[in-house]
Symmetry: C2
Subunit: 154 residues, 2 copies
DNA sequence: GACAATCACTACTAAACTAGTATACTTACA
DNA sequence: TGTAAGTATACTAGTTTAGTAGTGATTGTC
């Protein structure tokens, strides 16, 4: 299956960073760019579209920057991917949120590939629409503790 | 997530067709192309690569054509997608079969996106590596019967 | 052994998409 | 009113997709 674009990876990375700073005021693009190693100009574009999608909001002028527009417990990875990348389903005709008959299939109900891809979509949605930014950050922290714990043991 | 390419869709469609003709000798490219509405020259390329991957074999000259090289119960949708499209995982660093550290992530063990995408990969593999060409064709037949049954009822 | 049927190989192309860069602008705080 | 921010628009090099075109290599049949 095709891969997540850099744009999506950067979007998620930026959002994780904003999750960690949630409640502590706006974060500068330049800092985000430096900390997360994302080309600044590209990040600007990405943040503008994340703003358009309602995930972040911005403050102009001195003391400005970006911050999450919703609590990180309410932003799911699935919604971010959909906003940046498009539907989760591997085929438009297997999409729940943005269904579109594909050019090819004659009979939608009896298209073998669609039957299978519906299942794939459902499985993906079950994971991605249940996982929030906050949950991912928690898991990352756990993983970090686990690995540093191991380090200490050796 | 990104969509299945036409190439993959055509590959699967061609393989379903060959599944239906399994055991009945070679099928002509021209017939496959006509029946499945796939541009002939493009289909030729696709079949050559499916042959390279070991899914089909061919016979040249008069009376020649293409046929499945393995029983349709033994070819999984996952293996076809992997051969045509590449790894199932949405990120190279989340792939089981073709793992590759991605340019971006500093620490693989504590990359949030990777943690989630590993799960997605596993879920996809569970479906795609368990579903065979034969199974898809059976399901399509069931769906066809069901819908024609409904037609009769009205 | 000629001929026709059939797959095989190589090269080309137009359009779309990706991952950016560059330049100029607007807003807001002090 | 200066300057630290984000905003908007446009451009570009490289890659991928979905083909098309033309020629070459085998093989079965008469």
């Amino acid at each position: 299956m095709r891969q997540l674009s850099k744009r999506t990876q950067y979007s998620l990375r930026a959002l994780y960073a904003l999750t960690r700073k949630y409640g502590a005021g706006p974060v500068l693009i330049s800092n985000l760019s430096k900390d997360e190693v994302i080309p600044k100009k590209f990040l600007e574009q990405i943040l503008v579209s994340l703003k358009g999608a309602g995930f972040v909001s911005s403050k102009k002028g001195k003391g400005g920057g970006y911050l999450l527009a919703q609590p990180p417990e309410e932003i799911t990875i699935g919604s971010v991917i959909r906003a940046v990348e498009g539907p989760l389903a591997p085929l438009p005709c297997a999409s729940e949120t943005r269904f579109r008959k594909c050019d090819e299939c004659v009979d939608i109900e009896t298209c073998g590939t669609r039957i299978v891809m519906r299942r794939v979509r459902d499985a993906m949605s079950e994971i991605l629409d249940e996982t929030t930014l906050a949950a991912v950050c928690r898991e990352v922290d756990l993983a970090k503790n686990a690995s540093s714990g191991q380090d200490r043991q050796t």
